[in-house]
Structure formats: C-alpha cells, structure tokens
C-alpha cells in the first residue's frame, strides 16, 4: 500500500502538487507512481522560465523498465527544477514527497489546484488501477 499524504493534491497522471507559502506549487510524482516505475535512473526536467499549461508534458521520468511523461498539474511558469535529481535520481524512489520533488511552478491561477484530486479520491484511483 502506498503512502498518500492528505495535505497534497493529485493529478490522475500521478503527479502530486503542494502549494507553498511563497505562492509557488511544488510538483513531484506519487509514492504509487514511483513504486510502479521501479528504480528511477533519470529525470528530464523542463527549463526554468518555461510556461506550461495544465496537462502539458513537462519532462520525462525514466526507470529501468519504462520512460514516462510528467505533466504539469497546473498552468504557470517553471521557477525552479530539482537539479539534485541529475546525480541522484534514486531520491525519487526514496523520498517521493520530500527531496524527490521535480519542479516548482508559479501558478497563473491558484484556483486550478481545486480541480485536482484530494488524497481519498486519488487513493481510490490507485486502488482501481491496481485491479
């Protein structure tokens, strides 16, 4: 059973989003997603300054068995990427909700976060997918 912190929002494509105090949104992939991918070996980041719309491809996460796209959960501008993942991609497996974050977005409209799934709804989605 994977961990699904209740304070986060989730996209059906398995990214999590957290609204920070400075107004940016931190994005990563869920515990469920990292378990399904297996050992992460590479993360391809978007570029800082790039504008993205919700649902747009903003990178790739590659494990020993698959390469999957990462989608922006909200629209906005990329303000920061987690460069530490270049040398230590395994952090995504070890700490998906902490040091394994992918990038930060300055959202165009914070209200978009409301359109994402909450923890119970995301838990049901994961449950349904594993059957």
């Amino acid at each position: 059973m994977s961990e699904i912190p209740t304070e986060l929002k989730y996209a059906a494509s398995h990214e999590w989003a957290r609204l920070e105090e400075d107004g940016t949104v931190t994005v990563g992939i869920s515990d469920h997603a990292q378990q399904a991918l297996g050992d992460v070996v590479y993360v391809e980041h978007p570029e800082v300054g790039q504008t993205v719309s919700a649902g747009a491809e903003t990178g790739v996460v590659e494990s020993v068995k698959a390469a999957s796209d990462i989608y922006a959960p909200v629209s906005g501008t990329i303000t920061e990427i987690n460069e530490a993942l270049e040398d230590a991609p395994e952090t995504v497996n070890q700490d998906p909700y902490g040091d394994g974050w992918f990038f930060k977005i300055e959202p165009d409209d914070v209200a978009e976060l409301g359109e994402l799934l909450d923890a119970p709804a995301y838990g049901e989605l994961c449950e349904a997918e594993s059957h």
Partner: protein
C-alpha cells in the same frame, strides 16, 4: 537455436487453445482500411536453385576488372577469416538474438564493437549499429534536434560537400518531423568555409561535417566545430571509420569535440556487393546518451559476481515508449557488425593505419599517373585522403563508359550530382590496387582521350 519456431501443428494447437479458428480470425478487429491486402508487387517464393541462378547472373554483371570507384563504398581487402568466422552458425541467425540468458556471445561481440567504435571516434558511447551511414546520419540529425534543447530550433546546416545521397536519404527521413535541412554551398576548393556559413535568427540545432568530405578533401574540422558551438549548435561528424586510424577523431575536433559521430562501416570487411547491405554506426557523448536510438549493450555483473552483457537504456525504445520512442528503428545490423568487429580485431589499430596509408599512397600514385595525360588535372588541389577529383578534357560520363568497355571501373561522374562538374571524375585507389592496374587505367584513359581528340 530455432528463431522461426512455429510449425503448422503448433499454430493449430495455440489457436485451438484460445478458441480461434484461424490466424485471420485472430486479426479480425483490424479494420479493412488499415490492411495492406495482398502485396501485388512481391513475387511468389522461388526455389533455392532458381534463386541462385538469378543472383549469380546479377552478381556476374558486377564482376568487373579493377575498381577505382569510391564515393561511399570501397573495394578493400577482406581477410578470409572475417567471413569464415562470421558465417558460423553461432553468429549467422535469422535475427540478432538479444536475450541475455541465451546470447552472451552475440552480446559480448556487440559490446566489443561499441568499445572499438567509441575508441576510433574518440566518443564516450556507441550504439549497436544502425542500417547504414545515410540512415545513421538521419538518426544523428533527429538526435541533435531533440538533444539541443537550448537552440529551440529544427534547422540543421548540411554542406554541399556532404555525400549527395546521404543528404537525400536524411532529407527523406527527417522531413516527416518538420526538420529543416539547409544546404550550404561550398567554396571553389571543395571545402566548407566557416566564415561564409549563414547565421539566422531562427537559431541552429546542428551543423553536419563530413571528414574526409565527399570529394576526399580534408575540412577544417576544428574551425567548423568551434563555429557550430559558438552558434549554440551541435556538431555532427560523418566519418569513414577507416580514416580515423590516421585522422584526428571527431571527439577531439575543435575545443570541445564533435557531439555526434556517424558513418558507414562498409570499409570494415563488408563486400561492395552491388551497393549493399552495409552497417552504420552512431557514437556520441554521455550527455546525449538518452537521445541515442537503437540497441545499446552494457557490461554488468550477475548475482554471482560474474561479468555478463545485457541490453541497456531500452526505456526509450519503441516497444516501451511507442510513438514517443527515440526512433522507429530498434534493431541493428547484427551480421554485418559481426564481420566489421572481426575485421577491426584482426587488423588492430596498426593494421587499420596500414590500410589507410596504403590507400592514400595508391590514390596519390594513381592521380600522379593520370595527370601525366594532357588535359587531365587535379580539380580540387590540397590535402586528401583516398579520393580525389580530376578534371578531364572530355565529359566524365563518356570516359567512364569507354573505360567500362575495357573492364575498368574508372570512378564517379560528379556531373550526376553537381551540374557544373560534368567533366570531373572522383577516383579512389584502395590498398588493393596494383601498379599494373593503375598503369592499365592510365593507358586506357590515354586511348579514350586520344580518340576523343581526333
């Protein structure tokens, strides 16, 4: 090991088990509109005897005297051991076997191939090969466009000194991905001039440089590489791998080195065989390894600590990544790479350098002999490898046709690709050409020119 294992009985048993009457029924959900139907132009199967007769006839059409034609496919000596070993049953299969549990020999051979190619090109990583040099260039261009994220451009500069057929093949392949290949004119000396290369607001993903170039000339690879990098572009090197035994490897071009090197492996143990098949190579930098298409073999350790070989970095191939794969090709030229690897292993760095030097010397001797004839001159003066352009007092096509009647393959008519070079012939003399053959070429050409002058 049987690679085409299903007998009719086995197929029936499988169909019965899953409750389907025929293979056709198994595919009935594919709409008619998507089906190719009967392939009208593909002939029925023929017997082995019939096939051998047809192909012997076709092969005999090639069986000419000495070959002075280069331009991408070269008549080098192939040591007997190369194909004796390559044709062993362990190597010669209907499909390159990649299964680590069953194919350690094949995988190790490919790993050795990759190591040798990386060493020759001065790059960090090689794949297991691609179809040929021209398709390798197309893959290199697509790699550069994907990999050069800073440039945000799909524009690639392709000089006229690059093999015209490579340009044509690459254009056909990359056009579907909206890549713009911009042809750059050459200077009168048959070289690219870095000072005259066009800069554009549209940015630049890559510059392609062939060394030696199509005319056998040596480009200023250091200057061109530095120019490309100053523009924020990647530098794609196209190189005949034999030449790398003597020339500076692409990995050391300019201040930072080329980013991708590709080319055709035909000079390494592959017969000219009417123009094919052959194998291509692509080598690159670590930073671009995830853009490298096709198979890559890695060395690893098994649970017991023993060295073993396995496919690696497969996650971006089409069987996993579907439409987002790095390429629609995820195989390699297994058998020809086997021959190429055995050739490189037999020759070693010294042997390759000997072949390269002998080819250069023979081409120099040939052009010395031919330019003794009145009206025959070196067209593009300057450093060359084992090909040279000669200006003739007659149309090149005429001289080539006339020498063909005397069983001499005289070279390539450059007018076929460069309209203002109708009287220019591209010649090549590999290590195989003897003095007698070169003298025969000179005398035959002298007779043709004398006849044309009267």
């Amino acid at each position: 090991m049987p690679f085409i294992p299903h007998t009719a009985e086995e197929v029936d048993a499988m169909l019965t088990t899953i409750g389907v009457a025929s293979i056709e029924d198994l595919f009935d959900e594919i709409p008619d509109a998507l089906r190719a139907g009967r392939l009208e132009k593909v002939p029925e199967g023929i017997s082995e005897m019939e096939m051998l007769r047809i192909f012997s006839e076709r092969a005999s059409a090639d069986a000419l005297g000495p070959c002075f034609l280069g331009a991408g496919s070269y008549d080098h000596h192939i040591p007997a051991a190369v194909w004796d070993l390559t044709a062993r049953g362990e190597f010669m299969t209907a499909y390159t076997p990649y299964q680590a549990e069953a194919s350690q020999g094949t995988l190790q051979l490919i790993y050795e191939f990759q190591s040798m190619m990386a060493a020759l090109t001065g790059m960090e990583v090689s794949n297991a090969s691609v179809y040929d040099g021209a398709s390798g260039l197309a893959e290199a261009i697509l790699m550069a466009v994907r990999g050069n994220r800073k440039a945000k451009s799909r524009r690639v500069l392709v000089p006229e000194t690059l093999h015209p057929l490579y340009r044509e093949a690459a254009a056909a392949i990359v056009a579907a991905q909206d890549v713009v290949l911009e042809t750059v004119p050459m200077g009168s000396n048959g070289l690219v001039d870095a000072a005259s290369l066009p800069t554009s607001e549209a940015g630049l993903a890559a510059l392609v440089v062939q060394q030696p170039n199509f005319f056998g000339r040596l480009e200023d690879v250091d200057g061109l590489t530095d120019w490309a990098h100053e523009q924020g572009a990647l530098l794609i090197a196209v190189a005949n791998p034999l030449t790398l035994a003597l020339l500076k490897p692409p990995g050391e071009w300019g201040a930072a080195g080329a980013d991708i090197a590709c080319g055709d492996g035909q000079p390494f143990g592959i017969p000219m065989a009417s123009g094919g098949p052959s194998f291509g190579y692509i080598c690159t930098r670590d930073k671009l390894v995830r853009q490298l298409p096709g198979r890559i073999i890695g060395r690893t350790e098994d649970l017991n600590g023993k060295t073993g070989f396995a496919l690696t970095l497969q996650a971006r191939e089409q069987h996993i990544r579907r439409g987002k794969a790095t390429s629609n090709i995820c195989t390699n030229q297994g058998l020809l790479v086997t021959a190429g690897t055995i050739y490189m292993a037999l020759e070693g760095p010294e042997g390759l350098a000997r072949v390269a030097k002998a080819s250069h010397r023979n081409t120099a001797a040939l052009t010395d002999l031919l330019t003794e004839l009145p009206g025959v001159d070196v067209h593009m003066e300057g450093a060359f490898f084992h090909e040279r352009t000669l200006k003739l007092p007659v149309k090149a096509s005429h001289a080539i046709e006339a020498l063909l009647q005397k069983d001499i393959l005289a070279g390539l008519d450059l007018g076929r690709f460069y309209p203002d070079m109708e009287d220019v012939i591209l010649v090549c003399a590999t290590e195989k050409r003897t003095e007698t053959e070169m003298l025969a070429y000179r005398d035959a050409l002298a007779a043709v020119l004398t006849e044309a002058a009267t």
